[in-house]
Subunit: 403 residues, 2 copies
């Protein structure tokens, strides 16, 4: 008997009508004999509404209580969906974080799932019950409510798929699947039928908002077949597989972009061992994630410039640390938060020569200045001025035959 995890995002359960529609999708799977565990997000807008309320009380709202607050959103969806299924004659039950329980570790608002008790749920599944689980949350060893970061319902879905050893994990969302680039910006963007975990990981961590990247990472680690598909159409979605099972005809699979980066340049930094460590250690200690780092080749003067990018939200904090830390020595600092990161991603890139050159030339043809470059085996990212974002995506999408 097939066993599936179906995960429904915020827009998929954004209204009562949509919850009823989702109940019909689940009923169809259930009626065909599949054992279904559904993971649900909060109704769209709900988490932001709750966050806003907490922020109007304190800019630094207590993290334990924030988790109690935010977890209520998925609880509401779970109860409504279970109630809708029962109304349709399907035996169904919501299982809250503490009822299962879903055990997590790590700090509040950023926990990781470490265990899920399967006994009661497996019993219910074997009695033809449909299980509804609120995503994004769990409890800690001390019995506190925890959440696992924004978009964390994907992580719950993948963890549940792994622990219950389901055949597949289907991510229902408001788009038809994973696209070669953002279809809202570039109408010629094409839906990708099959993609590797690695590519999906790069696309989602580089700005494609279809799936949370740490969830893709977990799926890759445990080889859990994913499928991203639309709640609102019957069209085939995007299947996310092990790379070996994919046949690559194109070197580049997609173009991603994100506008949440900022660039900092430290000029006149001494070019000697340990200097870079002095700069990045205090940032790391303050949970600031440094993405790209570029260091120019030093001339005889033994001083150099270091450029790096960070999340835009961390800019003010980063500047403060750099200014106040006596171990960090430099002549001057500049920063730019009007930048965007454009990335091309493709598992076939590594075996296709000239990709880098083609990307740089394409951008040059559009007179787009490259501020920083970062590469991996399956992606190539550049930082450019924010104003050039759309022009760059369009150009690259065409240049790599994705239209």
């Amino acid at each position: 008997m097939a066993k599936k995890v179906l995960k429904f995002g915020g827009t998929s359960v954004g209204t009562i009508e949509r919850i009823l529609h989702v109940a019909k999708i689940i009923k169809k799977e259930h009626d065909s004999g599949t054992q279904v565990i559904a993971i649900v997000s909060a109704m769209s807008g709900k988490t932001n509404e709750l966050l806003k309320q907490s922020k109007s009380i304190s800019a630094n709202f207590n993290k334990r209580e924030l988790d109690v607050l935010l977890s209520s959103g998925e609880q509401v969806t779970s109860a409504l969906l279970a109630g809708a299924l029962i109304e349709f004659g399907v035996n169904s039950k919501s299982w809250l974080n503490w009822q299962i329980p879903i055990l997590t570790e790590g700090e509040h608002s950023n926990s990781r799932i470490i265990n899920i008790n399967i006994k009661e749920i497996n019993k219910f599944l074997s009695e033809k019950g449909v299980v509804i689980i609120p995503g994004f949350q769990g409890i800690s060893k001390t019995g506190d409510v925890t959440t696992i970061g924004r978009g964390g319902s994907d992580a719950t879905a993948v963890a549940v798929a792994k622990i219950f050893d389901t055949d597949t994990c289907e991510i229902y969302t408001d788009v038809d699947g994973v696209f070669s680039t953002d279809p809202k910006k570039i109408p010629v963007a094409k839906k990708i039928d099959k993609i590797s975990y690695e590519e999906m990981l790069e696309l989602s961590s580089l700005g494609a908002k279809v799936m949370q990247s740490s969830a893709v990472q977990t799926a890759m680690m445990y080889n859990i077949p994913l499928e991203v598909k639309s709640t609102f159409t019957d069209r085939e979605g995007t299947k996310i597989f092990d790379q070996e099972n994919l046949d690559y005809t194109k070197s580049v699979t997609g173009v991603a972009y994100s506008k949440d980066d900022a660039k900092i340049t430290l000029m006149g930094v001494q070019d000697k061992p340990g200097v870079a460590a002095n700069i990045f250690e205090p940032l790391s200690k303050n949970q600031i994630n440094v993405d790209m780092v570029i260091q120019n080749i030093s001339s005889d003067q033994k001083i150099t410039d270091i450029t790096f990018t960070i999340k835009r939200d961390d800019l003010i904090k980063t500047i403060e640390i750099l200014k106040n830390n006596k171990d960090i020595k430099y002549e001057s600092m500049s920063n730019n938060n009007k930048v965007s990161k454009i990335s091309i991603v493709g598992a076939g890139m590594v075996s296709t020569p000239g990709i880098t050159y083609k990307m740089f030339r394409s951008l040059a043809e559009e007179k787009i200045n490259i501020l920083a470059i970062s590469t991996s085996e399956i992606k190539l990212s550049v930082i450019i001025h924010e104003d050039d974002t759309l022009k760059a995506i369009k150009k690259l999408h065409t240049a790599f035959d994705l239209d």
Copy 2:
């Protein structure tokens, strides 16, 4: 060291500003050295919003899931209030139904609290922590979320006051206290400074919406001093005491009314033993609560009329049962849902002669027709036409020197 339960109703926590205000009230108590356990309702309107969502899925929404749904409301308030207190520098923590736990028994949406674990909470109180508990909910022995009926936060407050043996239980609300009648309808209504449990019980079960009646009953049973007071003013509220400690100068304490009754008359019922039982047994089995019953004295014909009142919401169901049950024999049936119940309440009534006569004469002077009468030691209720409600309250309020 004083230990208090402070309970805040839905309007008291209806906005973020009000939650901040409530946090200030609690901080003041806490700073003065009192150990505080605060019980909170859902933000005003929230429970109705969730109920409406469930009803748009099913008129008969699954009760287990309804409890999961509704309990989220108080969870949100608890987290926001705990966060606000922490922002004000007070050590505070929300404790959800399952974290304490609050054990209940009985059916979903209408459970009773049977036990509350005190160990962890007492430890936290002794460490100068303010405890926030969501009202209205608990868990069952099987680990399901349960709720304890509308207005159930009062019941939680009284149960917590009892089990933690607190000095007092203060019910913060949007009015200054308990009034001699509804101050929104009758401007001359006066705040009652002191009232007995029995009178409060009658007033609240007869339509005064200040406190849930089963909570008053529990307080009476365990002699827990209550105080109903305003969240928005510093005025003294109404103290609810043991009757023996009260000094009665007035025979009648208040006039209450409710508009949620309906009247049914069965004409031509056989006047023989067992007939009344045949009528009321199936109603009771269907959870329909019969309030007043009047049976006319039978003449020689051995047939009689029976009139009784029920909750207006139960009218259609009641008529159906009476029509379809073959054991219930009568010639014709009439019903009226345009009625209201007016009650005068006072612990001094029993020792004051002429109260009944005075009430009937006052209503007669206003040409108000009495459709049914019911009496107890401390209250006298009549059913009248709904249109006469205001006229009747005004007249009785004046007649019994309450203006």
